[in-house]
């Protein structure tokens, strides 16, 4: 700790409930947590430094390696940032296919986050159901992009591969199954008495605290803040959708927001597939010099890239602000202090869907 305290209980860096290493040092009085300090640095990649001086063709592959769980959105935000610098517009068919890939990625990320939460509160049955369902979504992502993670699907002006009609039909059929299963698992979560005891009223984040710490994504929407950057994206505006918001602000609300967003994403994909027009999947254009700050809605919230390039399209400077940075801070300093049991510390931490790989980019 930064100061000497009576009892400091460290959780992590290696902990059965954490997917990635982070150390949370809890100052406690009995089981009540008074304050928390987060220690990072166990998996720092220095990826921003590696990106500098490299051409965009190399940086796009590095960008999606910031995070293995939400790699598509890193690819999408970097490429759309490069397009904004260079005045390139994607082909209409490709713009819709990008949204399909992004929403499939969001579904699998949300299912993994909810799996982690259920596993943390010891509801292993539901956890394993959710992990199994995620595998089915990963298969659909592979069918569209050719890879499960680090797909490198989105390129300036379009996407890498077209979607065949038979694959579109398989994706629709797969999503019908996901809709049915996820509705059932949502019901199990919503009505489970054990889940209610561990989740309702635990790790509360008020809307005021969420605003002050700049909480984003499902963490903010679970506290009643109706912010979603997809509302400002031209393709999402064309397709239309409304963000999922709940007002409880506890662990239950955050997990339920993700469950409801899975259903919303399935709807978006369906509307994109309906709206697919025949045509090219790549538009022309050359990446040039410029500077841009570009943001997109990742599964965990607002993801921003600050990019500066030279006339050859080489990245001179880049800074990545990932949503987990905001959410881990708000979780550690606003949600966890005050929880009445150490078991709730891990549950609250996991409910914010923290991604250490993103944080330690």
């Amino acid at each position: 700790m930064r100061r000497i305290v009576d009892v400091s209980i460290p959780l992590g860096p290696i902990h059965p409930c954490f997917k990635e290493p982070a150390r949370i040092k809890c100052e406690t009085s009995g089981e009540r947590v008074l304050a928390v300090e987060v220690e990072l640095g166990y998996m720092k990649k220095g990826i921003e430094r590696i990106m500098r001086g490299r051409p965009w063709q190399e940086v796009m592959f590095l960008a999606e390696r910031v995070c293995g769980i939400c790699s598509v959105i890193h690819n999408m935000v970097f490429i759309e940032g490069m397009e904004a610098i260079s005045g390139i517009s994607p082909a209409p068919r490709a713009a819709l296919l990008r949204v399909v890939a992004n929403e499939l990625d969001r579904i699998q990320s949300h299912l993994l986050a909810n799996f982690s939460y259920c596993y943390t509160i010891e509801h292993e049955t539901l956890a394993m159901y959710l992990l199994d369902l995620r595998e089915q979504v990963m298969d659909l992502l592979e069918r569209l992009t050719g890879a499960r993670v680090t797909c490198a699907y989105i390129v300036p002006g379009g996407v890498r591969f077209d979607l065949r009609d038979e694959d579109a039909a398989l994706i629709r059929a797969g999503l019908a199954e996901v809709t049915r299963a996820s509705a059932r698992y949502t019901r199990i979560f919503e009505t489970g008495p054990l889940i209610g005891l561990r989740s309702r009223g635990v790790g509360i984040l008020t809307a005021k605290a969420a605003r002050e710490s700049h909480a984003v994504g499902p963490t903010a929407r679970g506290s009643g803040i109706s912010e979603d950057l997809r509302l400002r994206h031209p393709t999402y505006q064309q397709i239309g959708f409304s963000p999922v918001v709940r007002s409880e602000g506890d662990c239950f609300a955050r997990v339920m927001v993700r469950f409801q967003e899975v259903q919303e994403s399935i709807g978006i994909i369906g509307r994109c597939l309906d709206a697919l027009v025949q045509g090219p999947i790549r538009a022309g254009g050359v990446c040039g010099a410029g500077k841009v700050s570009y943001s997109g809605e990742a599964p965990r919230g607002e993801l921003s890239y600050l990019i500066t390039t030279d006339e050859a399209g080489r990245v001179i400077d880049i800074a990545i602000q990932t949503p987990s940075i905001m959410n881990i801070e708000v979780c550690a300093h606003r949600m966890i202090p005050g929880v009445t049991s150490l078991a709730d510390v891990t549950a609250t931490f996991v409910s914010a869907d923290p991604c250490i790989a993103c944080t330690e980019r």
């Binding site: 700790m1 930064r2 000497i4 460290p10 300090e37 987060v38 220690e39 990072l40 640095g41 720092k44 921003e48 605003r211 002050e212 710490s213 700049h214 600050l306 400077d317 800074a319 602000q321 940075i325 905001m326 881990i328 801070e329 550690a332 300093h333 944080t359």
Partner: protein, 131 residues
Amino acid sequence: MELLYEKDLRGMKYNVLTSIRHDRVVREIASICGISPQVIRRALIAKLDMIQLENLPARYEASRNAAGGADPLVHAVCGDLLTQAVPLLATTDIDQVRGMVRDAISSGTPEPDAAIAARPYLARLIQERGN
């Protein structure tokens, strides 16, 4: 006292603060408060943990978007910035500074000049918190 299992994080914290976005924010805070960036950096490293430092640009941006709701006198001495967005000082510290400014105003000093006159005291407080 040397504590077992405790690492010296100052090097890593410094690296966080010298990245593009963070450096820009530190310099802006320094210029707003009239203090050198080095002093601000030292206080930040001493007072905040790693995730608060990582989140500095977002918190700063959120505080700028929310500016206007605070007491004008507190805003004049950067109270909202230094207690909420970048929690370097306690509210009691800011109350002390605000009291100094209020005394100066009641003795006839114009408000902007009184706020500027309180800056060296503010700088000293931040410097103390950094030690």
